[in-house]
Point group: C2
Chain length 232, copies 2
């Protein structure tokens, strides 16, 4: 089994369905497709050059993930986000991340802490360049890592959904320019608490960190659509 030139990449061999899922998912969480927007199967299928079968299966998946809402015989729309949804999202997010954090401290691997510090360094670096995009990416990396390092697969599954919706919310809000370096430095006490295995303090800090982010967004949120209750 001769080892071929190392620069050969694995070729992409995903089904149409999977690629459609990723494509639509990215369009939704990036805000390109806005809440309430109708996803008409015939249209999208034609646009992507595929038949409706794999497209329907993709929409089915997105529906399970909660990114879209499928109304029987009436179509599929990008799910609306009410202020209550935002609050639920962030409270649930705090729950999941707290759990991950407890497990990480329980494991107590110094390499984990080092990895988290790595994300902080990248975040701070980006903040100094005032590169908001990079700051957000590092921030996401940090929080994703928190879940990943917990080693809890069920948690990771659940996190995916939550994480996607958080990205969507962040893409949709009016971006208020806070002091980016300040945002980055917010993560340091949390990492320190983890390093010191201080569960209570780490949990408290993380909870505040997430809650304040959630409140900030919830406050400026205007219920565009009527997710479940109406204003008739």
């Amino acid at each position: 089994m001769a080892q071929l030139p190392a620069q050969l990449h694995q070729i992409e061999n995903k089904s149409r369905r999977e690629r459609i899922i990723e494509l639509l998912r990215e369009a939704i969480v990036s805000g390109e497709l806005k809440p309430g927007e109708a996803l008409i199967e015939t249209e999208i299928a034609a646009q992507l050059g595929v038949s409706r079968a794999p497209l329907r299966e993709a929409l089915q998946s997105l529906s399970r993930e909660g990114l879209v809402e499928a109304l029987p015989y009436r179509g599929t729309i990008v799910r609306n986000l009410s202020r209550a949804d935002i609050e639920e999202l962030y409270s649930f997010r705090a729950l999941l991340e707290s759990f991950a954090l407890r497990r990480i401290i329980e494991i107590g691997d110094p390499a984990h802490v080092a990895l988290l510090r790595g994300y902080f360094d990248a975040m701070l670096d980006a903040a100094k360049r005032d590169d908001m995009r990079a700051v957000n990416d590092s921030d996401r990396g940090f929080h994703d890592a928190l879940i990943e390092l917990s080693g809890h697969r069920l948690l990771q599954e659940s996190w995916q959904t939550v994480s996607l919706r958080v990205r969507q919310v962040m893409a949709l809000r009016n971006r208020r320019n806070r002091d980016l370096t300040k945002v980055a430095y917010n993560h340091i006490p949390i990492i320190d608490a983890i390093a010191e295995s201080d569960v209570a303090r780490a949990e408290k800090l993380l909870h505040e960190h997430i809650a304040s982010a959630g409140d900030l967004i919830a406050e400026m949120w205007e219920d565009g659509g009527t997710p479940n209750g109406a204003t008739p």
Copy 2:
């Protein structure tokens, strides 16, 4: 709009897909379809008298729920459950129910407590008749209610997945006959703690309640298949 005779039921008007989902889901969580078993599209479609299109969409959903595993071009099998899966399942379950419990206490509605007591009464009643099935149903009702009463939709979504897998695990284990009335009475201190708004105590009791149930099952679990790691 004349009110028709009250004994008229809403007629079932679900798509084939939905009915297939429910049917297969029930077959899996009841243990009728065993972990590792292959679900061949052509076979099942013929057996149910439907085409493969709605069946595939149903399998897609079950795959998202984690009840089955879809291997590209190689078929779909009922997901295997390792001992590690059981432990993850119960630790996550404890997390979700604790969260629900905190919210219920925060809401502080006496009607909620009354409802929970209702489930306990039914459970105790069934236990005295030594009706294991009814005890399990009431137990499930109690824990489902806990989630429901929290009023947190995202939590409810997440719970569905967890709840289904718990049912599956309970259906698959060798049923050890414990003292049913003892099982029922385990719930009383939790309800009392909720009634007294004692978060810490309620949470501690609930956590123990779930952990002991999980440990009991995990101990007697024999890793049938090799979910992710192998014994070659």
